[in-house]
């Protein structure tokens, strides 16, 4: 079972939920932790893993052999990302725009293009208190987080409870982290920003047809609109964490809540059981709704359009 902890807005408490959920299952379930927030991976601060293996994630960048190139421009015409251009007698490659798809090499009539690997970041794997841990880390100055997340997802051990800490937002890195999840736990806070971004995150989870539940963090600081929204949309709120200076100071020092306050271990255990039963029920109803993959995809496309019209400016 893969539980992805996500949020539209940053800083709502994803890492806190993911870390404590994983630790609360220690000794009860086989657990695996994946930190997919590869731009700013923070779970290691709390879990203090022993990193045993590091591997590089690369994309392939085109390199042009000037002796073979006749500046025909086929590569530049084919590239959808404007990552390669012919200027005078030179061909320029814009590394940060290149997706590494290889099309330029395919279309080059003189076979002047070959590809060289370029490191985007690394995957670090190891153990935390006997359970497997992996995290991705985007190199500073690199723009593309998604390929690292896809690579990281290959580490998933089936038959484990895989807790995934997702990056904030609603774009491609978030999608990559949510892909294949059995449940999305969306963490939010009861403020207008929290509500606005929760709505966007719910849109993402729905387009991917991942069953969704909400965790309300810093409960009590703002207004009731998040709770009203969840009720309207039929999304269960499975946990509320109050704003509390003690929780904030434990967070600040990198100490997991369940280690410092044992009663939270029980509460996160309850959260897991809720998550498990909820994803099973939701999963079976989704499966019976959808006759075929093709139908599923058409529905996804329709939901996406509907979702986009509903957005406020």
């Amino acid at each position: 079972m893969q539980i992805t902890v996500a949020s539209g807005k940053g800083g709502t408490g994803k890492t806190t939920v993911a870390v404590n959920l994983a630790l609360s299952l220690l000794g009860l379930k086989p657990v695996q932790f994946l930190d997919c927030d590869v731009e700013e991976p923070n779970a290691h601060i709390f879990l203090k893993p022993r990193i045993e293996r590091t591997r590089s994630v690369e994309k392939l960048l085109p390199e042009v052999d000037g002796a073979l190139c006749d500046q025909c421009g086929a590569c530049a015409d084919a590239c959808e990302f404007n990552a390669i251009a012919v200027i005078g007698t030179k061909v320029l490659v814009y590394d940060e725009l290149c997706h590494g798809c290889g099309l330029c090499r395919m279309v080059c009539p003189t076979e002047a293009i070959h590809e060289i690997p370029h490191e985007l970041g690394v995957i670090e794997s190891g153990t935390v208190r006997e359970f497997p841990f992996s995290q991705g880390r985007l190199n500073v100055g690199e723009a593309m987080a998604t390929p690292i997340i896809h690579e990281l997802k290959k580490e998933v051990i089936s038959d484990s409870v895989v807790v995934v800490d997702a990056p904030p937002g609603t774009g491609c890195p978030t999608i990559a982290a949510l892909h294949g999840a059995d449940l999305a736990l969306l963490v939010t806070e009861p403020t207008p920003f929290g509500l606005h971004d929760l709505n966007a995150a719910v849109g993402v989870a729905r387009t991917l047809e991942v069953p969704t539940a909400v965790i309300l963090n810093r409960a009590g600081i703002g207004d009731n609109r998040v709770e009203d929204y969840c009720q309207q949309e039929g999304i269960p709120i499975v946990m509320k964490v109050p704003f509390d200076r003690e929780i904030a100071s434990l967070y600040s020092a990198g100490i997991p809540l369940v280690d410092a306050v044992p009663s939270w271990k029980e509460r996160f255990g309850v959260l897991y059981r809720k998550a498990q039963s909820f994803s099973q029920n939701a999963g079976s109803s989704v499966a019976s709704d959808l006759a075929s993959d093709e139908q599923k995809r058409r529905r996804q496309a329709a939901t996406l359009q509907e979702g986009s019209k509903r957005r406020d400016p």
């Binding site: 731009e39 923070n42 959808e80 723009a143 593309m144 987080a145 904030p168 609603t170 600081i221 496309a301």
Partner: protein, 289 residues
């Protein structure tokens, strides 16, 4: 026209709250929301839309199942694992590169543009705004950020603005790098936690990589005096000027609920700190010029 960008690395440290304060305090400005994944600045501004449009950021491969002979060439060349064993294209994994369409021997695949987001320009109670939102699950956030900045630049020329006040995205990746290019100053907003410091180091690396003058603000500083000091000590080693500390203050949230910035509440301790930070920044930035 000078642009001032708010970044943080870690999310939820208070970028938008501080950008909202600057929006209230600065004169002759255009407000810009470059956090296209989770655009929130408008929630403090009561905007009225002036112009808007769809953003076609990327394309996606669409297959005509009638023509497809299931030869599998497309799947062999796709580097994004977007084509499954039944040769169905996953729109969320497809990056729209067109390699599959190129190799398809029966022309069963075409690239079709997709609406990836929506941009607006608006008048607001605190000045003109350019903002955009990416639709759920779309990728080209960097391109959309560039488009918002372009709209903001045009708007700025028209109203003869002196400053662009830009709210950025969390993280260090694509939308952040797009928002940072060509910016005159970056204000980094952090919080006193190990995570805040860890993420600050990474975002500072990006800002230094692009050689942009940077300033630091520590938000909710009193939640950990110890970490606030550590962050200040780190800033000193990096020649990173600390503009000030903002205390944890519930009026920031109550003001947000009312659609306002904390500086609009004259009793708010956080609001008072934000005012001082604005003055300190203005002075430092003018000296630099």
């Amino acid at each position: 026209m000078k642009s001032i960008l708010f970044l943080s690395g870690k999310g939820g440290t208070g970028k938008t709250s501080l950008a909202g304060a600057f929006a209230f305090l600065a004169t002759e400005k255009v407000l810009v929301d470059c956090d296209v994944d989770a655009a929130n600045l408008h929630l403090l501004l009561d905007p009225e839309v002036v112009t808007e449009g769809e953003f076609e950021g990327s394309k996606e491969a669409v297959k005509d199942p009638e023509r497809c002979t299931s030869c599998g060439k497309c799947r062999q060349v796709c580097r994004f694992l977007a084509i499954d064993e039944d040769f169905v294209i996953d729109p969320y994994l497809c990056e729209g590169c067109g390699a599959c369409a190129y190799v398809c021997p029966v022309d069963a695949i075409t690239l079709s543009p997709r609406e990836s987001g929506h941009w607006v320009t608006a008048t607001t109670r605190l000045g003109p705004l350019a903002s955009a939102e990416l639709y759920p699950g779309e990728e080209t956030s960097g391109k959309l950020v560039m488009l918002v900045k372009q709209k903001a630049g045009e708007l700025g020329k028209r109203v003869k603005a002196e400053r662009l006040i830009i709210d950025g995205a969390p993280g260090i990746g694509c939308p952040v790098i797009a928002s940072a290019s060509g910016t005159n100053a970056v204000i980094l907003v952090t919080e006193p936690s190990l995570s805040g410091l860890h993420d600050l180091k990474r975002i500072l690396g990006v800002v230094q990589h692009f050689r942009i003058p940077a300033y630091l603000v520590i938000n909710k500083a009193d939640l950990s005096e110890e970490m606030s000091r550590k962050i200040e000590a780190f800033a000193a080693t990096q020649d990173l000027r600390v503009l000030g500390r903002i205390p944890y203050d519930r009026t920031v949230t109550t003001q947000m609920v009312a659609g306002k910035s904390a500086v609009e509440d004259t009793e708010s301790p956080a609001g008072a700190a934000m005012r001082r930070i604005f003055e300190c920044f203005t002075e430092a930035f003018n000296d630099r010029r």
